[in-house]
Amino acid sequence: MAKQSFTLQVNGGTYQVFAEPNKCLHDAIRDDIGFTGTKEGCGTGDCGACTIWLDGAPVTSCLVLVGEAEGAQITTIEGLATDGVLHPLQQAFVEHHGMQCGYCIPGMLMSAAALLRDNPTANEDEIRHGIAGNLCRCTGYTKIVDAIKSVAQA
């Protein structure tokens, strides 16, 4: 199987990726395009660390082949801030100390941002359900939920 050219739209930019089709989307985003904010955790869709948006919908990019993302608008953690100003959720994670090691946080934020975009007044149960697909082994989730709640209530 030879390398092929794939065209990806990431955070508003267009990128050509020359890769074999068995490359996963997170590897293309990180290694070929250079948006290294997206992290690979389990690689099998369980932990949510690699969560990005495909046309606004959060998906685990480890379960997406690079070719499957052609034609979609991809948003990564680097696409959340606007003109250097942190997304309100990013700011809230800073203020509430929502991260410890931080590895899960890019994926966590992509899930949380989609949740509050679709349900701006999400309550705690809805928040916990909204990030259920994102595992954090450090925090016990308390500060993460606090951070999201602070934005949901604002």
Partner: protein
């Protein structure tokens, strides 16, 4: 992941043609939420992949009060559970779709994939079988429409030929005075696989006193999503009472063919089938009588 050839046909006919001409060893890629982990960790190494992502004719949901619901096989779980007609007329389908993996999974996984992946624990399937859903399958010699229960033949096994594709799922218009419910038991609140699940679909007579129609489909207690025909027979024509429901629940437990594994013992699974069947029947009767 091993290497593979990768094709993105634009139509069902092209996809069938590819599967036919490339021959054995291929795999259809829909949402990929099970195929991708299988290729990474479970030794599944297709020679080539036929991706359905560019086939627009495989997406969409339509509803007609007379002819019922048609869901294209590539419809994602998230789209299914947000569709106004599905929410209103087939809430049981939403119940199942919401249980599949994480929200991220539901944004990738498709209804056709959940069916053709043929997991005994597939959460979207019992509701559809309880609703007597049918599926349309396209192959080199045309299309055929068969009961969904005939598509799944064993764990990971379907009756589809290697060059056939499930393209659409159909469900008849809702019966008057009917209700359907699906529930599963898992030890955790989120992201788990059913130890046992039960989908029921019942109709009452005009006086709302007797069962006139009953379908029960069990999840994760047999090699396939299993119609509990003994339980169905214990309901039809009988008064819609707690006694009847208890008899049907016992019959459902007897219909189940569970195995013991790390998720639960066969005995526990039978107990779950009994309990969940009784709960779902009671909830469905209550819903019909309350006019919901």
């Amino acid at each position: 992941m091993h290497r593979f050839d990768y094709y993105t046909p634009a139509t069902v006919a092209e996809a069938v043609d590819l599967l036919r001409s490339k021959g054995a060893g291929g795999k259809i890629l829909a949402g990929g939420t099970d195929l991708m982990p299988a290729m990474k960790e479970r030794g599944r190494h297709p020679k080539y992949i036929v991706s359905l992502k560019n086939i627009t004719e495989l997406r969409g949901i339509s509803f007609d009060p007379q002819s019922g619901l048609k869901v294209k096989a590539g419809t994602k779980m998230s789209a299914l559970q947000r569709d106004p007609n599905v929410m209103r007329h087939y809430p049981v389908i939403v119940q199942g779709a919401k249980l599949i993996g994480s929200l991220q999974t539901q944004n990738l996984a498709t209804i056709g994939g959940n069916i053709c992946n043929a997991a005994p624990s597939a959460d979207a399937v019992p509701a559809l079988i309880a609703l007597d859903a049918t599926g349309t399958v396209h192959g080199p010699s045309g299309s055929r429409t068969v009961p969904l229960s005939q598509i799944i033949t064993g764990p990971g096994q379907t009756s589809l030929a290697a060059d056939e594709i499930l393209t659409e799922v159909q469900v008849a218009a809702p019966l008057p005075r009917s209700a359907a419910n699906y529930v599963r038991h898992v030890p955790r609140k989120e992201l788990d696989i059913a130890i046992a699940g039960v989908g029921v679909h019942v109709q009452l007579d005009e006086a709302l006193q007797r069962f006139t129609h009953a379908r029960i489909c069990l999840c994760a207690v047999a090699p396939v999503p299993l119609r509990a025909t003994g339980a169905e027979a214990a309901l039809v024509g009988q008064p819609a009472t707690a006694e009847t429901i208890e008899k049907a629940a016992q019959a459902a437990a007897a219909d189940a063919r569970p195995i013991s594994d790390q998720r639960g013992s066969a005995d526990f699974r039978r107990l779950l089938v009994h309990t969940l069947t009784a709960r779902m029947l009671t909830a469905s009767v209550d819903a019909i009588r309350a006019g919901r």
